[in-house]
Symmetry: none
Subunit: 234 residues, 2 copies
């Protein structure tokens, strides 16, 4: 029985790896309330049979759940559900949040660019122009300008001289392209959407060149809001 058995909640067309599907189904089991609090789940052998997967596959799923803090595995004892009280805070596991992510970026990067605009040097501006040229080049050659996009936002954040802010911007950016959100993201990177992003980057740069903090803030907010919209629309 090699192929996707797709019992239970998992869609028949789910192409993700079995351990991911299985992990989700176990999460559902916990959420459904069948097992909650510090309760103990069925034994591996039993749970595997119950879900229609082999024990090794179930084990892989359990490791994933253990890593994101959903369960705790005690050797010789059993599988225990961990405090479901505040998994929302840490458990970025799925829950999703493309819109949340982009909103967070809009709020934070808009605030940062106000700081950046004040101390923007000609040298930094030149670097930013270079990324836009490279971005245009990528688009012309049908390559995804993700690195250039990343650099543009990161350079602005770094120009504040605050490494913590730069770190936060970096992490939020990478969140989108990380394998964690891979399940959600389709392939929103169309040529059109990249062209639109490039145009918005130019608008941001123009505001920075004019040393107009408020215009830069507005342009950045507009850019990230639009970017989030494009992402959601696929």
């Amino acid at each position: 029985m090699p192929v996707n058995y797709a019992i239970g909640q998992t869609s028949m067309t789910d192409t993700r790896r079995l351990y991911q599907q299985t992990a989700d189904r176990v999460r559902q089991l916990i959420a459904k309330g069948d097992h909650q609090a510090g309760a103990r789940l069925p034994a591996e052998r039993e749970l595997a049979q119950q879900l229609g997967v082999s024990r090794p596959s179930l084990r892989e799923a359990l490791i994933a759940l253990e890593i994101d803090g959903t369960i705790e595995i005690r050797m010789g004892s059993g599988i225990y559900v961990l405090n479901t009280a505040k998994p929302a805070g840490n458990g970025r596991s799925l829950g999703e949040s493309p819109s949340e992510l982009m909103q967070a970026r809009a709020v934070i990067e808009s605030a940062i660019i106000v700081q950046a605009a004040a101390t923007m040097t000609e040298e930094t501006l030149a670097t930013l122009r270079a990324t836009l040229e490279a971005m245009a080049d990528d688009i012309a050659n049908t390559r995804k300008p993700i690195e250039q996009d990343r650099a543009f936002h990161l350079i602005i954040a770094e120009s504040t001289g605050n490494t913590l802010l730069a770190e936060i911007v970096e992490n939020l950016f990478d969140e989108r392209h990380s394998p964690l959100s891979a399940g959600i993201r389709g392939h929103f990177e169309t040529a059109d959407s990249w062209t639109a992003a490039l145009t918005e980057h130019h608008a941001i740069l123009a505001a920075l060149e004019a040393r107009d903090p408020l215009a830069a803030q507005a342009a950045m907010h507009s850019h990230l809001t639009a970017s989030g919209r494009r992402w959601l629309e696929n």
Copy 2:
């Protein structure tokens, strides 16, 4: 060969699960430079033999590495090393100046409170008032109102409904009181400084009650700037 074989770097007395030990050893392999960049690791069968573990155990380790973004597994193709360039971003080594931390908080929380002010409910306001009362009580009884302070900032961030923003505020707050920055901080929490903080919190609350986003923004920025100054002065 059931028992811990402990070949390679893993200590003989390592009692962790095999997949964790194995994951660490693969990380070392990558760090050592043997395989880096977007390089491809040996095939599962080969790598398992090379590390002296079974394929299922190696697979468990690979899943752990995949989840934390160290590698990417492509079905039928191979195991690829992912951007090894940014381990610092997540590592949160900090070692950075308190002033940077407080500046980052000022920038970010000031931006957040603008959002929060717009959707502030009477219920949330009541919760905030309660934290201020509890804070006053703590001060009166010469207890450190750290938890109340934390709650005040966190509640505001959470009121935006954006879990990512709340998470960031939470992490930045905890950064200050974490053992990581313990070496830096003296004991800036004097009764006077807490009283000042309480007064500033009241000012922020007043702006929120008036539903004045700009006033709230200014009050929050002022509070965190002043707080940073107090911290530095010990």
